[in-house]
Amino acid sequence: MSSRNPLDVPYRERERSITLERMGADGDEQAPQYGTEVEPDTELFTINMGPHHPATHGVLRLLLTIEGEVVRDLTPLVGYVHTGIEKSCEDQQYWKAITFVERMDYLSYYFNAMAYCMVVETLLDEEVPPRAQYLRVIHLELNRIASHLFSVGTSALDLGAMSMIFYTLRDRELILDLFEMSGGQRMHPRYFQVGGVVEDIPPGFEAKVRGFIRAMPARIDQYEAILDKNEIFLQRMRHVGVVSREQLLGLGVTGPLLRATGDPWDLRKAAPYSSYEHFDFKIPVGTVGDHYDRYRVRMAEMRESLRIVEQALDGLPEGPYITSNRKVALPPRDELATSMEALIHHFKLVTEGFRVPPGEAYVAIESPRGELGCFVVADGSAKPARVHMRDPSFVNLQSLKPMGENTLIADLIASIAMLDPILGGIDR
């Protein structure tokens, strides 16, 4: 057990050279899997994949040790888009930090805002009105569909089915139009607010969402018809990248990767938040835990999300869309002209922001990639003392090594695609 500071070691010596031992005659090395033509004494070769590789879904750099076409060891190196968002949040008032956390995982921005708002609401002990909870669910599930569409499209693109990305992006565009309608922006709309949502959905939004829900199942059918009957796609997905459920759990992996192994773990069901207990939906699970199951789980989750959105629209309660606590939420605009108190609250909230009593809390939600947790330490001021996101991409990335080791480089591309890492979330 050594407790010396690794920084005492000079930089050049710290930089590891990842070179495996040659395949020895002692027999404890794993035998080559792909063909017998692989010479046991073939030279191992260490190369970079990324950070600017189009198939690494962002600036992910992998240090591969390959033996011919077979990956023998891989090390993910991340941090290329680290922008210090967590540090920046410490310099922002609570309500302004929402804008920052949304930029972390840039494909599922509603989830980041949701986790952050929920933890601040926990610290404030603030109730969210039922209508706001339903509106949040509608946007979260639409965002989940958009994120899965992007994931499936780029995965198919990486595996050579190029037309898929055009189709899925076309449908994602419809969802972004809906987001623009309700929040004013296509991405990072900052629609969720501490205590509720920024404003009610506009007239016509519901009809547009219903139109989308009607059209989407047929589209998903079409995608499945494209991919599920594609021999190349199937051969590259089936029985590839299988990692056991126990190993995934040890690595802290959650989300579709875990569900593909047959483990129905979904925080929406296990620990319902934001009225998820009101909706009837199923948790799709796989059986084998290979890439094909992961892809199927994502496709099935999109259908379930559509069902949730439909139920949320049907049961959308009347009432306020944000808490009436004036110490937390801005007063309505029309009150400012007549009420002195509203003016004071408005001024206080915009200049200083609200103060949060000292304490710390951790809240986790189910994002498209797994458990998205947010940990906030409040010191009693109007700015958080610490904001930490447990990003599922960051934790799930550790499963790339068991998934991609001793497979072909081409299978590693499929592994990255099915891992669906968002580097903005990993590096923050």
């Binding site: 680290h82 002990d125 759990l249 809390a361 447990r390 960051f394 550790q398």
Partner: protein, 173 residues
Amino acid sequence: MPDGTGLELIAQRVRARLGESSVTGTAYYREQATLEVEPRSVRDVVTFLAREDDEPFEFLASLHGCDYYPAEPRLGVHYQLMSRARVERLNVKTRVSVEAPTVPSVVETFPGANFQEREVYDFFGVIFDGHPDLRRILMPEDYEGFPQRRDFPMGGEDVLFTFNEHKVPRWYE
């Protein structure tokens, strides 16, 4: 979540097994249970709760670092344990000083803590004793300082240009 009573029972079981001094306190705030432990017994407590306790918390959901500046000891490390069977969360928390920021690593019990311990080391300088590969993960390897500490300024860092590259320390590396 275990309630206040459940938390005290957990603390009692840990104390009975690992000694009176292993648990320094409990906190129950906003329906979240926190078990405060001595830094040197973190691994034992976490492993006991995950593997041997009657009501185990077998899943490490997350691991965070934070800086309680100006309170002493300044640095905090939080382990968010979860029981998937009972859907309960327990926060195990420890505090270390900046001068001796050493905490035993839990990577042997939870391999998934690998990246997150590296992250805490990267940003707060907490050294995880027994970690197999304790290097910076998000910041560049030759970065000086621990940027998430509260006394680390925002901005004000030299930007490397051709005209000043010889003035920036260790520019040749």
